[in-house]
Amino acid sequence: MMKTPAHNTRRTALRDLRVLITTLSLTVVIGLWNLFSRQAQQEFSSTGTDNLVNAGPAPTGEDSLPPLPTLVPMEDIVVTTGNSPAAAPSAVGTAPLREVTSPTPVIIQNRPPVVERVQIGQQPDAGNDEPAPKPAARTGSSK
């Protein structure tokens, strides 16, 4: 069957339409993805963190170490410790890797205040040998 110019034009228009629909679909998918992931992130940061504490390892000088190498030839990598810049570089292959612990969320419970027993110090003139008692309370700038 002969292809007329009108037929070719119709096919070209159909292809263009497909490209357009595909592009729009991709754009919509990416846009919605971005929108919902941002909403979820905002919800987490506004509500979920109130009672959560990052109970991972406490910050130490080790935090200044470079990230652990991945997918990189080990023999090409040397690291220096952040705390001792003058120290000789050591090869990763021989240096022990840092131990890392994934952060564990801990729920802080707002417990009602509890009445407890306390022991307050002895007489003020008990003599020089007697150590000063622990104060019942301390005055200072409001905390």
Partner: protein, 324 residues
């Protein structure tokens, strides 16, 4: 001896009763409820507090609760005795200095506003009060912040209520009210924090009764436009006081008096502040200056733990208030 600890009014509260029984424990469990009630009436950080409702009712006669009325009365008293240096009429100046939210929030996020000169300053004389109907009319533009006055009043009230059961000590963020000697007749040991050293203690005091309060710029301070600001404003300038005092601790017959006096001495500075203290025999004080040195009033040593001359009765709540 039983104790309860919790947070209220933006600070750590501690209440101790020198007795041990279920009834005493039940009374101590009431203390957080009392503070919650007072905070709801007196806090400027709660949008629906009675104080904020009053602040929004400018130029209208507004009946107020007994707590707010009494604190307003205490604020007038402090204003008079400090010759206007301690005033609740500085809320807008305090906000412009950057103290625009509770200190816990401020420490996290920093101030939201920038300083602005030319703020109108009000006198308490501008407030109308009607004791018959217990109502108040604030002039337009004036908003109140009771700050330490409310805390001192609440702490004193709590100690008074608990004292009906046993000797009591109540502390609110380091402002301490003592109802009387402990059951064995001994005083309460009270430490004075060292503002120069975290966790340090300058002095151990022996208190039989009365109040002790400390005003300082070592903790409630923040950085605004590269300049350190603190929460104690000098009403003469409307800005954070440029005092040479780092912290001022004052012992007085009652906590509200001690709170007023500590703030006054802080604002006046070391030389004038000590003179002001010496003119008032019921008050004694210890100052830590910015250069790290210590100054104290001449009678201060009578409260140091272990020193001779401590009267078994010490201060009593019935001692005449300090003269203005």
């Amino acid at each position: 001896m039983l104790q309860i600890r919790f947070r209220a009014m933006g600070c750590a509260i501690q209440a101790i009763l020198d007795a041990d029984s279920p009834a005493v424990a039940r009374s101590l469990e009431m203390v957080p409820i009392w503070f919650e009630e007072w905070e709801q009436a007196l806090s400027r950080f709660r949008p629906d507090s009675e104080l904020n409702q009053l602040n929004r009712s400018a130029d209208r006669i507004t009946p107020v609760s007994r707590a707010l009325w009494e604190v307003l009365d205490a604020a007038f008293q402090a204003f008079k005795e400090s010759s206007g240096l301690v005033t609740p009429a500085l809320l807008d100046a305090l906000i412009l200095a950057g103290y625009d939210r509770s200190f816990d929030q401020l420490a996290l996020n920093g101030p939201a506003v920038s300083p602005s000169p030319g703020l109108p300053l009000f006198s308490l004389e501008d407030i109308e009060r009607d004791p018959r109907t217990q109502s108040v009319r604030l002039p337009a533009g004036l908003r109140l912040d009771f700050g330490g006055v409310a805390k001192g009043w609440a702490t004193h009230q709590a100690a008074d209520r608990l004292a009906q059961l046993a000797p009591a000590l109540v502390s609110a963020g380091g402002d301490i009210s003592v109802s009387g000697s402990r059951s064995d007749g001994n005083p309460w040991p009270v430490g004075v924090e060292d503002p120069r050293v975290t966790g340090g203690q300058i002095e151990l005091l022996a208190l039989h009764a009365g109040g002790v309060a400390t005003s300082g710029k070592d903790y409630r301070r923040w950085l605004q436009d590269g300049i350190w600001k603190h929460h104690i404003l000098d009403p003469r300038t409307g800005r954070p006081s440029a005092s040479d005092v780092l912290s001022a601790t004052v012992i007085a017959p009652t906590l509200p008096e001690a709170e007023m006096a500590a703030k006054t001495v802080f604002i006046l500075g070391s030389a004038e502040g000590l003179r002001w203290l010496e003119e008032r025999p019921a008050l004694d004080g210890l100052l830590v200056l910015e250069d790290g040195s210590l100054r104290h009033s001449t009678r201060w040593s009578r409260y140091i733990w272990g020193q001779s001359g401590i009267s078994p009765t010490g201060f009593s709540g019935s001692v005449a208030p300090s003269k203005a």
